[in-house]
Amino acid sequence: MSAVSIVNAAAAAPLQVVLPEWTAIAPVLILALTGLLLLTIDAIWPGRNGNTTFAFVSALGSLAALTVTVWYLVAGTGQVGGSITLFSEAIVVDGMALFFTAIFTSVAALVVVASHDYLAGHENAASYYSLLMFATLGMALMAVSNSLATVFVSLEMASLPSYALVGFLKKNRGSVESSLKYFLIGALSSAVFAFGISLVYAVTGSLLLSEVAAGFDDGVAGFAGVAGIGVLMIAGGFAYKTASVPFHFWAPEAYEGAPAPISAFLSSASKAAGFVVAFRVFSTSFMPLLDATPAIDWALAFAVLAVVTMVLGNFAAATQENVKRMLAYSSIGHAGYALIGLAALTAGGPHNGDVMGAAMAHLLIYGFMNTGAFLFIAMVEYWGVGRTFEDYAGLSTKAPFASLAMAVFMFSLAGLPVFGGFFSKYALFASAVSAGFWWLAAVGAITSALSLYYYSRVVKALWIEQPNGNLDAIDSKPTGLYAAVIFAAVATVLLLPGFPIALETAEAAASALFA
């Protein structure tokens, strides 16, 4: 029913008049070239510790990709006159792809800027930044994937550099161990995912999302079992990428063990990448299954996952002593919120676009506030004052601006009014209610209330409690980290007045998928 319109009217959008069609994936290409450029530079002058050079090139590359993406978004590439498909429809560029590419590239830029300080004195800066760029490339590819084959390959492209990045601190046991766990769970999930793809292929005879949808349009009589297991296994693959229960086990360890900028990157961008591809695959290909006989109610499955994820993530976060691990669990909880964007879909439902758009907007704001929060952790790790709530006591006396930014992130994550996170959660829950899924919204609201408890603990530690003498180590001001944290805070605050625009863009992009 909701196949992507195959041909885009090249003349409909003004942009295509000027540029050839393949330039639609320019953001992806820019990221790829940046990664290769980093390797080339390091290959020509190996061994030189060019942390600054590499950071500069990576930041430039991701910002260039971001600029092009935003330009396309504004110019209406892939939105006005239908989406643009390339490589025999294996790649599609539309509003949603650009929206999420904007998230990935901005998070990547923030992480790169922050990493410059974090990596000072480390060897192999080139591999770090190039892996980061390749991971971003994989995510951007996930956003434009239009075939199960590209979905799988791009997902792996995003995952493999992530494993290496998590284990980047080779001398740190936690980093290496969590990397290995991440890899093992990832391999298992990939296997499940690939198996699911093969089952779907078995039923529909195609990997292209539009053709899969066409195959399901005729019903799944006789193959319901194969199709159902296939669809749920694919859902499992996405659940792994988005760190949703029960595929979340890697997340707390990986986020905690990884270098903090990488935790920021994984919990924000990587999660969003999982969602964009899940949104696309399920809304494009699997919508017909919702009202097929027998029904393959994957939306209900996502609803179950959403509830379990929200509850488990928030409950586990409430009992953590380690701030980074608390954030890791909170990030799982937020995956549950975003899952509402899939769970509240109904066959031909009039609110589908609103629900998914609200989830997209939430992921955008989440991208900034969560990245900012992890980057604050990165700054604290950089200072080396400790990891628990007690260690954070009184940090505001030493770093007032960063602490203020952290308070903004925490309250925004909790969804308090006057911060961006409030509106995105509100829009999400409101759209879920209007789509008839009030109980999802209720669970979301209750767990948000719970989340306020542990988020405010951080603020309390920073601002109210007295320093306990471990803050004397703070003697430097990491400029890049500071800039990234402050920028993320500003973006979080600015997304408050800017939220209507973001939501409108997201809902237009999401509605295009259901058109």
């Binding site: 290995l180 766990k181 093992l184 769970i185 298992l188 999930s189 499940v192 319901a224 079992g225 199709a227 159902g228 297991i229 749920l232 296994m233 499992g236 229960v245 029960p246 595929f247 086990f249 890697w250 707390p252 360890e253 027998p294 029904a295 393959i296 109610d297 209900l300 499955a301 179950v304 488990l312 409950f315 586990a316 976060a317 409430a318 009992t319 953590q320 719970l450 408890y453």
Partner: protein, 671 residues
């Protein structure tokens, strides 16, 4: 033009609050000068607004809409100003007295070397700002918010000397008792919103207008199944709860005498002239709403008349000068309530104005005496101050004559009009009002008696202590406010000489009547007269009734005065309370009102303890339970994360399998 500056009237004192709070300790006089400048500025702006109302008529503007509903509840919650004759007059009164009190405070607080002055002036500034905000409010919700703010300021200022025993507990009592009334008020506000969908005071869609139309059957509002009149009575009485608390009416009056623990200028400003007037002002503000409910009016009148008499009797035996004034205040507000309940909208407003002047004067005079007496308030320790402090004496005397209702002082005119309205409307077929009138009338001699007992004990006779023989002199900053108010106490009554007009047939000297008729259409005095359920009856003709009424009340006042003169205007007055016998104890103990309330409080303790048990056991239990269950399950959830990767893989696979099986079996995939 002037109306554009109306918000500044409110904001100037707020500014002085901020200045005193944050910069007060760096300023000379602890922020007093900023407060004086701000209130004086507000006074000038108020006068300007007053004159503009006179020339251009009333004015209403919505300044800020801070919440608006949608769908089926298109309510807007707004802040706005309503400047009509009533509020303009009130603005002038409040700003004038606030300015004078600020000046007086220089003498009472600064010269006495009090500490914590910035806190004091910050409190005064915030109070003035809140009170002015309440006065200009153009809707009930905004009025309620500022109503609560003045209550807060009252609490802060009563407890100014928080290190002593009395003030904090008096402050708490004032806060709790008024809060008790405010609960009803709050419910009333909600009821008004849910009934009419608006809380605006003025306009075609305002709730008094809608109420009137609903009673007439022209519009339908949500009355929750009641007859409109019944429901409006209920809502009106709910709002009246706040009024009774704030204006210290029976049975919620007990906080006001205790509130005298606060500094005397505070008593003058808050607990005599302005904040306690807020309740009366509120009823006057939404008088159109009460006018459609005869029952509510009758209750208001009865409460007022009873309070007037009841409080006056208690004032008779008090030893402390401020206590006498406190009971007198309660009693006088009873008169205003009586007037409102008796359909005398103008009379109530009139008495509100004159009382504000002469009672502020009396409190400031008492303050002056207290300075002189080194903060000894016991009248039995005074005496003979007449010659030592002439300015205080003469102004105090003017205020006392006004309070006692002696012709031609201001109090006479206003009190007479109050009683006159009650009388003619009572004669016009409302015998209940006659009862209220009788109580009001009985209170007249008692008032005159306790007033002059106070004057004689304080100023006349021989000094009874060394302090009274050598009182501390007061400076200009005390004498100046006294003089201003003294003049006003004498002449303020001339703005509304209705009896003279009626008897002599002179037209046009009832300025206040004309003034209050200049408002927006449904807020005018004659409209209220039309709506009110009363008709007038006379003894003989109108002029005769006026004469008879005035003669009776004046005669009674003189009788009370003479009795006081006979008993206390002697060189060595003695306590005559023994002659009252058993009544003495009753009066000393304020009819055991406090004891009664404590008794009630103790009786309700079992209820309260049940509620407490419920609260601690069930509510807190649930809350604590939720949090401990959360934390417990959180720690359980933590344990799933064992750290062993094979466990993760197993759980992951199990989870996926469970999901597959559940959906497969329920979805019937394998059939």
């Amino acid at each position: 033009m002037a109306f554009e500056y109306v918000p500044a009237i409110v904001l100037l004192p707020f500014l002085s609050f901020v200045i005193a709070l944050f910069a007060g300790k760096y300023l000379p006089k602890g922020g007093a000068l900023a407060g004086i400048a701000a209130t004086a500025g507000s006074l000038l702006l108020s006068i300007w607004a007053f004159l503009t109302v006179r020339s251009q008529g009333a004015y209403q503007e919505t300044i800020y809409t801070w919440a608006s509903g949608f769908g089926e509840q298109p309510w807007e919650l707004t802040f706005g100003v309503l400047i009509d004759p009533l509020s303009a007059m009130m603005l002038v009164i409040v700003t004038l007295i606030a300015t004078l009190v600020h000046v007086f405070s220089l003498g009472y607080m600064n010269d006495e070397g009090e500490t914590g002055l910035p806190r004091y002036y910050a409190g005064l500034g915030l109070f003035t700002a809140s009170m002015l905000g309440f006065v200009v409010a153009d809707n009930l919700l905004m009025a309620f918010m500022f109503f609560e703010l003045v209550g807060l300021c009252s609490y802060l200022l009563i407890g100014f000397w928080f290190r002593e025993d009395g003030p904090p507990s008096a402050a708490k009592k004032a806060f709790l008792v008024t809060r008790f009334g405010d609960y009803f008020f709050l419910i009333g506000v909600v009821a008004v919103f849910s009934t009419f969908g608006t809380a605006a005071f003025v306009g075609a869609e305002s709730f008094p207008v809608l109420a009137e139309e609903a009673v007439a059957g022209d519009v339908t509002v949500n009355t929750f199944g009641f007859d409109p009149t019944t429901w409006f009575t209920i809502v009106g009485l709910l709002v009246l709860g706040g009024v009774v608390g704030k204006s210290a009416q029976f049975p919620l009056h007990t906080w006001l005498p205790d509130a005298m623990e606060g500094p005397t200028p505070v008593s003058a400003l808050i607990h005599a002239a302005t904040m306690v007037a807020a309740g009366v002002y509120l009823v006057a503000r939404m008088y159109g709403f009460y006018a459609v409910s005869p029952t509510a009016l009758a209750i208001i009148a009865f409460i007022g008349g009873f309070t007037a008499l009841f409080a006056a009797t208690m004032g008779v035996v008090k030893r402390e000068i401020k206590q006498v004034l406190a009971y007198s205040t309660i009693s006088q507000y009873g008169y205003m309530m009586l007037a409102l309940g008796a359909g005398g909208y103008v009379a109530a407003t009139f008495h509100l104005m004159t009382h504000a002047f002469f009672k502020a004067l009396l409190f400031l005079g008492a303050g002056s005496v207290i300075i002189a007496m080194h903060h000894n308030e016991n009248m039995w320790d005074m005496g003979g101050l007449k010659d030592k402090m002439p300015v205080t004496y003469w102004t105090f005397l003017a205020g006392s004559l006004a309070l006692a209702g002696i012709f031609p002082f201001s109090g006479f005119w206003s009190k007479d009009e109050v009683l006159y309205e009650a009388l003619i409307h009572g004669l016009g077929g409302s015998p209940l009002l006659l009862g209220a009138y009788a109580m009001g009338l009985l209170a007249v001699p008692v008032t005159a008696f306790y007033t002059f007992r106070m004057v004689y004990l304080t100023f006349h006779g021989e000094p009874r202590t060394d302090t009274a023989r050598n009182p501390e002199p007061v400076r200009w900053n005390v004498k100046f406010p006294l003089s201003v108010l003294g003049v006003l106490a004498v002449v303020a009554g001339l703005v509304n000489m209705v009896p003279v007009q009626k008897v002599l047939g002179l037209e046009g000297i009832d300025y206040l009547h004309q003034w209050l008729d200049q408002s927006f259409d449904p807020l005018t005095a004659h409209h209220y007269a039309e709506v009110s359920p009363y008709s007038s009856g006379y003894i003989g003709g109108e002029a005769t009734t006026v004469l008879v009424g005035a003669a009776v009340s004046l005669g009674l006042a003189l009788a009370g005065l003479l009795l006081a003169t006979y008993l206390y205007n002697v060189a060595e007055p003695t306590e005559h309370t023994a002659k009252l016998g058993a009544i003495k104890d009753v009066l000393y103990n304020n009819y055991y009102q406090d004891e009664f309330q404590v008794w009630i409080a103790n009786r309700t303790q079992s209820v309260a303890s049940v509620a407490d048990t419920f609260d601690q056991g069930v509510i807190d239990g649930v809350v604590n339970g939720v949090s401990s269950v959360s934390l417990f399950s959180g720690s359980r959830v933590r344990r799933i994360q064992t750290g062993v990767v094979t466990n993760y893989a197993a759980l992951l696979t199990l989870g996926l399998t469970a999901l597959l099986l559940a959906f497969g079996l329920l979805g019937g995939w394998f059939l």
